[in-house]
């Protein structure tokens, strides 16, 4: 499969490329909306968006089948949406309205949509990598052909759970693809200051007998293609893979963080490589009319604005269900 081959001027490949653009734009507008709502005080608790990193979530999702699984972090809105999780239920969760995808219990950091194969967002760095191994183990034993993708950040490569999980995946030959979103930063600290190797994930692949795979994380087609190869290899029983996708976090670590430590020229350089611009250029090269692209942009903005307005108009949820869904019997009784 050739990475980043030209999109033809017409036909299903072109339509798919336009679709992908629509998804990228939708996720971007959604994240920007979350950021704005947070700043306006509508989000209870912290929120983390991945503005600038959307091509990874979208590109990976395009490489998966509906029955495949994915799992990610507190910075997981894009990953849930890209798998098909309903934006309405996600935003309701963020805003504490009835119909939230986690019933108001998870909030921004724990967006989960099992229905759409997204097995959750975890807020302790590294914790979900071992969990991804478990998802993949279940499939290896009982549903051969399903693959799990596990997203994580560059900073996560320094925590013990990363090591144990990737090692276990390699020892057991699990159908799991690890995707490092290297956005250059931990919270405030540049990853280069805290890793002894230049590529935090790729340069560690060898420690687990894996091949280092890197990809331009701002090129949605490259992400899709590279992930697709790894996913199909895993599907075929060839074991795990480690992909490092280089990207950039265009805002602060969380919506509360102005990101002052991010040098302006660095931000500018990456703005030029914005995944929406990159993919827009591909479309334009393929002869997609600029008006069509602009229409997608403005329609999406309206769609997201309306979605948010509708949800904001509803009353915040009450505390009625505080003691449900603790145990499998649906309640929270721990004693008689």
């Amino acid at each position: 499969m050739t990475v980043g081959s030209a999109v033809p001027a017409a036909g299903p490949a072109r339509d798919a490329a336009v679709d992908v653009y629509g998804e990228l734009v939708f996720v971007r507008r959604f994240l920007e909306k979350v950021h704005a709502l947070y700043r306006q005080g509508h989000v209870h608790g912290p929120a983390h968006v991945g503005i600038g990193q959307e091509a990874i979530a979208v590109g990976v999702a395009r490489a998966l089948r509906p029955e495949d699984r994915s799992i990610g972090t507190y910075r997981g809105h894009a990953h849930a949406l890209a798998r098909g999780a309903p934006p309405d239920a996600v935003l309701r969760e963020l805003l504490g309205r009835e119909g939230g995808i986690c019933a108001g219990k998870g909030g921004s950091m724990h967006i989960t949509s099992v229905e759409y194969g997204y097995f959750g967002s975890y807020a302790i760095v590294g914790a979900h990598l071992p969990i991804a191994c478990g998802l993949a183990l279940a499939d290896q034993l009982r549903s051969a052909g399903r693959v799990t993708v596990c997203f994580f950040g560059d900073g996560t490569t320094n925590i013990g759970a990363f090591h144990e999980a990737v090692n276990l995946a390699a020892v057991w030959g699990l159908p799991v693809v690890f995707v490092c979103e290297n956005n250059g930063y931990m919270e405030y600290t540049p990853i280069g200051d805290m890793t002894p190797v230049p590529r935090p994930a790729a340069d560690r692949a060898g420690a687990y007998g894996l091949r280092p795979i890197t990809v331009d994380g701002n090129d949605v087609r490259a992400v899709r293609d590279v992930t697709g190869e790894a996913v199909e290899a895993a599907r075929a029983g060839q074991g795990p893979a480690m992909i490092e996708a280089r990207t950039y976090r265009m805002t602060g670590h969380s919506c509360a963080d102005p990101g002052k430590y991010q040098p302006p020229d660095e931000v500018e350089r990456w703005a030029e490589r914005d995944p929406l611009l990159v993919h827009r250029a591909v479309l334009v090269d393929a002869g997609v009319p600029a008006e069509l692209v602009d229409e997608i942009d403005s329609d999406t903005r309206t769609e997201v604005d309306e979605l948010a307005a509708d949800i904001l108009a509803a009353a915040p949820i009450t505390g009625d269900n505080a003691l449900t869904d603790m145990w499998s019997d649906g309640g929270a009784r721990w004693r008689n």
Partner: protein
């Protein structure tokens, strides 16, 4: 009726469940050859290495893989070889496994069992291999906590744990592994003891002794000793901390008016405090003496025989506690350093 050891009971329970349900898989370090406590003897031979899976020394990966596998439809039983090692995967247990059903609004089910050896019992395993960390777990809502005190309970409670749709931690007391009991072991045995029901080890009307795991036997021996003095103690085996059969404890204490709660672990904070508080809060009017805890000293477990014995609660300590709660005056009994070795 053959004799069954507590050690064998682990394999009996797991074989019973693995035969019943293909989704049950075991994972852990060195378990393929039967495990370091020989609790899993024969399971690889019977069920194969795909379902009895050796792992690297990676407790986080073990617990996390068990969790993920449970979310994707297996019913994993993970071994944490010594319960002290829960510390190395505590995040997986306390922050992920315990919380994920609730925090996803009930989207996932987590039928995970984690089991392994725990406790002291005077075997000399020292400070990093002798803790029964059920107290850490009880601080974290979302984990069921089981600690069998007999071979037949090991079969029945472990089987119930495997069938439960919630995460269950099973603490096997390593000093009980050689305990024997008459038990009908044959293929097709289907012994299940539902979680959350305390066991009346012996009835009595003068004082209630509450134990768990290893301390049940201590309570029993103390009860036999004081029986000769005409004091009839009721001995309760809690079996589970979560779900807790508080009602059975309260019923008993309301009858006897006195409670002595015996915990092997340090008493600084432990399940005995939870039981003591529940008794004080909910059976206050029935109490004729303060509820008293007998527990381990508040130090890491030392190794030398006499040191370990000095630090662990003993039958003598329990007998002393019982005599004191029976003494009509003074009623404020448990002064630091007197009854409770946990208060140096």
């Amino acid at each position: 009726m053959a004799e069954l050891t507590y050690r064998q009971a682990v394999a009996v329970a797991l074989a019973q469940e693995m035969a019943r349900d293909e989704r049950v898989v075991l994972l852990g370090e060195d378990i393929g050859s039967g495990g370091v406590f020989k609790t899993l003897t024969g399971l690889t031979e019977r069920f194969g290495a795909t379902r009895v899976r050796d792992t690297p020394i990676s407790e986080q990966a073990i617990a996390g893989a068990a969790m993920g596998a449970a979310m994707a439809g297996l019913r994993p039983v993970a071994e944490i070889m010594f319960s002290d090692f829960y510390a190395t995967c505590w995040d997986q247990v306390a922050n992920e496994i315990a919380k994920t059903r609730y925090m996803t609004g009930g989207q996932v089910s987590l039928p995970v069992v984690i089991r392994g050896a725990s406790g002291s019992g005077g075997l000399g395993f020292g400070s990093q291999h002798s803790q029964a960390v059920e107290n850490w777990a009880m601080c974290v809502p979302g984990l069921k906590i089981v600690s069998p005190a007999t071979p037949s309970d090991m079969v029945g409670l472990l089987a119930a744990a495997v069938r439960d749709d919630d995460p269950v931690l099973v603490f096997e007391h390593k000093a009980l592994y050689s305990m024997k009991e008459e038990f009908p072991v044959e293929d097709g045995t289907d012994h299940v003891v539902p979680l959350g029901h305390a066991r009346v080890v012996r009835p009595g009307q003068d004082v209630t002794l509450v134990g768990l795991g290893f301390s049940v036997g201590l309570c029993q021996r103390a009860a036999e000793r004081i029986d000769q003095e005409g004091v009839h103690a009721e001995v309760l085996d809690l079996r589970c901390l979560v779900p807790l059969d508080a009602q059975r404890v309260l019923d008993s204490v309301r009858r006897t008016g006195r409670a002595v709660i015996v915990e092997e672990n340090p008493g600084q904070l432990g399940w005995a405090a939870a039981i003591g508080s529940i008794v004080a809060e909910e059976a206050f009017d029935a109490l004729t003496a303060p509820p008293v805890r007998v527990s381990g000293a508040n130090v890491p477990l030392p190794v030398a025989t006499a040191l370990e014995a000095a630090v662990n609660p003993s039958v003598d300590d329990i007998v002393t506690a019982v005599r004191r709660v029976l003494d009509p005056a003074p009623r404020t009994l448990c002064r630091p350093g007197v009854l409770n070795p946990s208060i140096p």
